[in-house]
Symmetry: C2
DNA sequence: TCTTGACCTCAAGTATAGTTGAGGTTCTAT
DNA sequence: ATAGAACCTCAACTATACTTGAGGTCAAGA
C-alpha cells in the first residue's frame, strides 16, 4: 500500500518556498548558481529532496553571517553529492563557519574599540591613530601606500 | 610673508586620493552621493578643505564596519555645515557607530553560538533549533510565517 | 610653446543578490 | 472538462558601490 500521509517524499518549489520562507525566485536563483539542485518531473517542474530544506536554512544562516553566496556554495560543495549529508557532514560545515565568524567578530570588535579612541578623540593625531594613515608619510611613500587594510 | 611650506590650504582631488588611499573615481562617487563636498577653482577643478581627509577616513572606517553609504551620509550630515567639526562633533559620531557596532557584534556572536548547536548537530530537530523554523508549523501557519528574523 | 599629466563630465560596465514581468505550460480540484 | 493556481524560461530591472572608457579641458615644467 502507498503512504497516504501528507509527508511527501519530494517537494515542489512552492512547498520549499513556503517551508523555508525563501521566495521562489530566490530558489531559482540559488539553483542557477549551483547552491541547490533539483530533478524535474514529467512536466518539467522542479522536485526537491527534503534535504533541500536544511540546505536552504544553512544558506540563509550563512548569509545572515555575511558570507557571500559564492563562499556558501563552496562550503556546501564539501557535502557529499550522492548520499544524504550526515550529522558529521553538517558539523564540518559549522566548524568552518564558526571560525569564519570568530574572525569577523574579532575584526569588528577591534574596529569598535579603535573607533572610540580614534574618531572620537577629535585630535586628528596622524601618528597615533591605528584607524588613520599618517597622510604625509603616505604622500611621501608613493603609490604603494594603501591606507586601510583590505579586511 | 606667505607660507612657503608644502602645507596647502586646499587639496586637489589627486592629493586627497594619494593621502587617503581612496581612488579618484570613488571620491567623485562620494561627492555625487553627498558624502563629501568641494568648491571649484577657476578651471572647474575640485578643491577640498583638509578636513575632507578625516571625513574620508571616517567613511572608510564605517564601511569596514559594514555600514552602508546612505547611513554614513546620514551620520555625517549631523556634522556642522559651515564650521569645521570639533572633537565633540566627531565623538558624537563615534558614539553612534559604537552602538551600531555593538549590535552587529552581538548578533554575530549569537549566530555563531547557535551555529554550533544547530547546523553542527545534524539532528534536524525542528522544535529546538533557533536557527531553523519548524517547517510543518510554518506550512500549517499560512503565509504569515517568516522563518528567519530580518536582522 | 608645447607636451604631458591631471583634471573634467557623462555613459556604460562590473559584481552581488536577487525581483519583476511577459508569454507560455502544467497541475489539480471541481 | 475546464478554470485557476502553480509552474516554466528568459530578459530586464533594482540596489549598492564602485570602475572604466570616451572625449575633451586645464595646468605646469622643459
Amino acid at each position: 500500500m502507498k503512504s497516504a500521509g501528507p509527508l511527501q517524499r519530494e517537494l515542489s518549489i512552492g512547498a520549499v518556498s513556503a517551508r523555508s520562507g525563501v521566495a521562489v525566485s530566490a530558489l531559482h536563483f540559488y539553483e542557477s548558481k549551483g547552491l541547490i539542485h533539483s530533478r524535474r518531473n514529467s512536466g518539467n517542474q522542479r522536485r526537491y529532496p527534503r534535504e533541500v530544506l536544511r540546505r536552504v536554512a544553512v544558506i540563509k544562516v550563512a548569509q545572515r553571517a555575511g558570507i557571500p553566496l559564492a563562499e556558501i556554495k563552496e562550503a556546501l560543495s564539501t557535502l557529499p553529492d550522492e548520499r544524504t549529508p550526515t550529522a558529521e557532514d553538517w558539523r564540518a560545515l559549522s566548524i568552518r563557519w564558526h571560525a569564519e565568524l570568530d574572525g569577523r567578530i574579532e575584526r569588528l570588535t577591534r574596529l569598535r574599540d579603535q573607533l572610540e579612541g580614534c574618531i572620537g578623540c577629535g585630535c586628528l593625531s596622524l601618528r597615533d591613530c591605528p584607524l588613520r594613515n599618517p597622510g604625509d608619510l603616505a604622500a611621501a611613500g608613493g603609490p604603494g601606500a594603501r591606507l586601510f587594510d583590505p579586511q
